[in-house]
């Protein structure tokens, strides 16, 4: 994986030469905008504290919460302690000298995102941190607010002179979704790039921090056996699935304006496609990898509006049964319009017009209230060219390599074998490698990895603007057609079923969920 950025001591401290360390060497202050929100308490704060416990967080570190909810420093520290008590495992609860030290490095600003005075106060607080905690002018701004607030925060950072620091680095982490369509993404990008250069922008998609997603690169480029057959000569099709058994839960208000195409396909699923289809990078730097991702995305053929119905399928779940439990339909969910036209299932067939993949269909699907939670990439190889073996009744299946991302991270290979006995029966067998039982460990949470990478200045697992823009370009024709045509068949699949019929018309060979 990528080379680490050089931190404070690595360049000059002879004790660091050759020392294997996971610690992030740059001191820094991390500012969390939206620190009273759900994302911060459930994901970001536990990730930061876990880094503290494991020793990866810089020794000189400070955390500033910045949000509308009213807290003083002590109140926010207590809030953090309570949330860590709730969300950290039993053996990692906040206590002892480490918590005391961590806690005194936490401060909070009750703030209005539109008020420049509050950003001026933030600047003063960061200067205090530099003085008190040795954070050396390095500032990580994490935008964990609702996306509409992003441009205002960026503007205010500039107005307060927080866009750069004379001594240290400034980096801004932007949570997904990056825009709600191509135009809004471009508008947001203009707002951000008018203040920060691309090298300081970290567009986070926590999916990319998951270990199995990173394993795709290892599988492809740390082995020689796959690459020679990873092309149109041997591959019949590639299916990328991101299915959930959950419904929209409490996110009905958001989801009804988003839908599966925006929520999953535009970011997670297209990112997986890029990783599985890209050419081998020339090196391990962030841009080496991101160049290849962009290249392959830019080779995807964009559908015209007239082609959309022939290369896509949409669905919306109705009432049904999952895990033996009756569940309500999408239109009965909280904060969802009773006549909603929002898709909770999206499928698309894409083609990559390049030498490697010409003619190979890539089938993408994502949906809610499907029978089970599954994220996987299935590479189906072409059938044998000539059959001379096996009993006539035997079905000889093509080989399938499945990269399983969730829930059972691993790799599975289907191949054909002879059934022992005097007859020449052939049947499919499966060779499974599970990261869980293979290495006997749980993968570290994605946010820990990604926050650490942002602190180290490693952008590999963050999406570059050209790829974000291209992903929006890919889904835009579909979005536009779907938005402008009401689907009167909705709801068109029962919760707990395999998805809408239209998906199977698009591609009868979907793997069963």
């Amino acid at each position: 994986m990528p080379a680490r950025a050089v931190g404070d001591g690595a360049a000059v401290n002879p004790l660091r030469a050759g020392l294997s360390s996971d610690r992030i060497t740059d001191p820094c202050s991390a500012v969390f905008f939206g620190a009273s929100g759900d994302l911060f308490k459930r994901m970001l704060l536990p990730a930061i504290y876990s880094m503290r416990l494991s020793g990866t967080l810089p020794a000189d570190f400070a955390l500033v919460g910045f949000a509308r909810t009213n807290y003083d420093d002590d109140g926010f520290r207590e809030y953090c302690r309570q949330q860590l008590d709730l969300f950290m495992p039993d053996d990692q609860k906040p206590q002892g000298a480490l918590w005391d030290d961590f806690s005194r490095r936490i401060t909070y600003l009750t703030a209005d995102f539109t008020d420049t005075r509050h950003f001026t106060a933030l600047k003063e607080r960061l200067a205090q941190n530099d003085e008190q905690f040795g954070t050396a002018g390095n500032h990580l701004f994490y935008l964990a607010t609702p996306p509409p607030v992003f441009p205002e925060i960026i503007k205010q950072l500039k107005k307060a002179g927080l866009d750069k620091d004379a001594q240290g680095w400034t980096r801004v982490v932007v949570e997904k979704p990056f825009g709600t369509d191509l135009d809004s993404a471009r508008t947001l990008q203009r707002a951000i790039e008018s203040v920060f250069p691309e090298s300081e922008i970290y567009r986070i998609d926590h999916y990319l921090g998951k270990e199995p997603v990173q394993d795709i690169i290892a599988l492809r480029f740390a082995n020689t056996i796959f690459e020679p057959i990873w092309n149109r000569n041997y591959v019949a099709n590639i299916q990328i699935t991101s299915a959930e058994s959950l419904g929209v839960e409490e996110r009905g208000g958001y989801y009804d304006h988003a839908g599966a195409l925006r929520d999953m396909i535009q970011n997670h699923v297209i990112n997986l496609l890029a990783l599985v289809a890209m050419e081998a990078p020339i090196g391990s730097s962030a841009d080496d990898i991101r160049n290849e991702k962009y290249k392959v995305l830019s080779a995807i053929q964009l559908p015209s509006h007239g082609e959309v119905f022939g290369m896509s399928a949409r669905g919306q779940y109705g009432e049904g049964t999952i895990d033996g439990r009756a569940v309500k339909g999408y239109r009965q969910e909280q904060d969802v319009a009773p006549d909603s036209n929002t898709e909770t299932f999206a499928a698309a067939k894409l083609h990559i017009e390049n030498w490697r993949w010409g003619g190979v269909p890539f089938y993408l699907r994502s949906g809610k209230r499907l029978p089970r939670k599954v994220s996987e990439i299935a590479v189906t190889f072409k059938p044998i060219p000539h059959r001379f073996y096996g009993e006539s009744t035997d079905q000889i299946e093509p080989n399938v390599l499945v990269i399983k991302i969730e829930p059972d991270e691993g790799i599975s290979m289907r191949f054909e074998a002879k059934v022992p006995g005097p007859k020449e029966h052939i049947r499919s067998v499966y060779m499974d490698f599970s990261y869980g039982s293979g290495f006997g460990v749980q993968s570290p949470p994605a946010y820990e990895r990604l926050i650490g990478d942002a602190m180290q200045g490693d952008q590999t697992l963050f999406t570059r603007w050209d790829a974000v823009e291209r992903a929006w370009e890919i889904v835009t024709p579909i979005l536009e057609v779907w938005q402008n045509t009401k689907d009167f068949s909705f709801p068109n699949y029962a919760a707990g079923s395999q998805g809408p019929e239209g998906a199977f018309k698009l591609f009868p060979g979907w793997r069963r969920l």
Partner: protein
């Protein structure tokens, strides 16, 4: 004396027939040798932990047991009594029982490596040798033996658990000199290490000496690259194999990394002209299983380790003069 492996091989074949359809993953063949039964019990326990994370064939060579102890205890766990077995017998047993494709790792938990032909024979045939110079608590004898052995076998793919245990301390000491305080490293005048056993202390001192180009000048001092004296003191105090404090003094400042009362954190303090706010780091003392993992994944190619070992050897040799 020879080892009849037929029952073991039969048992392995039987197990494969029974469980062959359960596809499994193997990362290595781990060979463990010990002579002390109590240490053997401890080792078995830790190896189980390691093997649950890195699925392995484990071959336990029990140097305390008479032959013909040999059994297959669990799916891929083989025990052999090898008290009277020759080096060649052990080599042939390992050749017969190892997984052919997976790397071979030797964990040697016994003293006397310089004069033990079994160690010499086995270590020649493995990809990684893991040793623990502080397990037997023999002062610094085991470390001296290791230095001598490596001197004659410089290509030995070696990792020492005692050295790997230092990682949080190396990191803590490095933190003390990150940034502007780096210059103080070249003005250090005194090093004090408090530790429950000697190998860790000498490794830490050897690491500093190798990084900062210090050379031994007397039984308790070194010379820095400018020819200035750096005194050192090693205090044996506290739990074996645990460092409790390292203090480094320059002409202007004192840098201390010290275990706090909870024994869970290292407190970093700097006093004098380089004053710095106090910092804390989790010790995260890794267990033996985690150290073994580290040894297997990273240990044997670590140039800094070999430099530290050589420097520690030179310091110890000066002490003998």
């Amino acid at each position: 004396m020879t080892l009849d492996l037929t029952p073991v091989l039969d048992e392995l074949n039987e197990r494969y027939r029974e469980h062959g359809s359960d596809m499994k993953v193997a990362t290595m063949t781990l060979v463990v040798f010990f002579e002390n039964p109590a240490i053997g019990e401890l080792a078995r326990d830790r190896i189980h932990t390691l093997a649950s994370k890195h699925p392995s064939r484990v071959i336990v060579l029990d140097g305390a047991q008479d032959e013909p102890l040999h059994r297959v205890e669990a799916d891929d766990w083989i025990e052999l009594g090898v008290k009277n077995s020759s080096a060649e017998t052990l080599r042939s047993a390992i050749t017969a029982l190892r997984l052919s494709e997976a790397p071979l790792v030797l964990l040697w938990i016994a003293s006397g490596i310089t004069s033990d032909p079994r160690f010499a024979m086995l270590s020649e045939h493995v990809q990684t040798v893991v040793y623990n110079s502080s397990l037997l608590d023999t002062g610094h004898d085991a470390l001296c033996e290791l230095v001598e052995y490596v001197e004659h076998h410089p290509r030995l793919p070696l990792a020492d658990i005692a050295y790997l245990r230092l990682a949080p301390w190396q990191e803590s000491v490095a933190i003390l000199f990150d940034g502007k305080d780096v210059e103080e490293l070249f003005d250090l005048r005194r090093v004090e290490i408090t530790c429950g056993s000697e190998p860790e202390a000498f490794y830490l001192l050897g690491w500093l000496a190798s990084r900062l180009e210090w050379t031994p000048s007397s039984v308790n001092s070194l010379l820095n690259r400018f020819g200035k004296r750096v005194e050192f003191e090693i205090r044996r105090e506290g739990e074996p194999r645990r460092i409790s404090c390292i203090a480094l003094s320059s002409s202007r400042s004192r840098f201390v990394a010290e275990v706090d009362q909870s024994a869970e954190t290292i407190q970093l303090s700097v006093t004098g002209s380089s004053h710095h706010p106090q910092r804390y780091r989790a010790i995260n003392n890794p267990g033996i299983a985690a150290l073994l993992e580290r040894a297997i994944l990273w240990g044997q190619n670590d140039r800094v380790f070999y430099d530290s070992l050589n420097a520690a050897g030179e310091i110890l040799a000066r002490g003998k003069v």
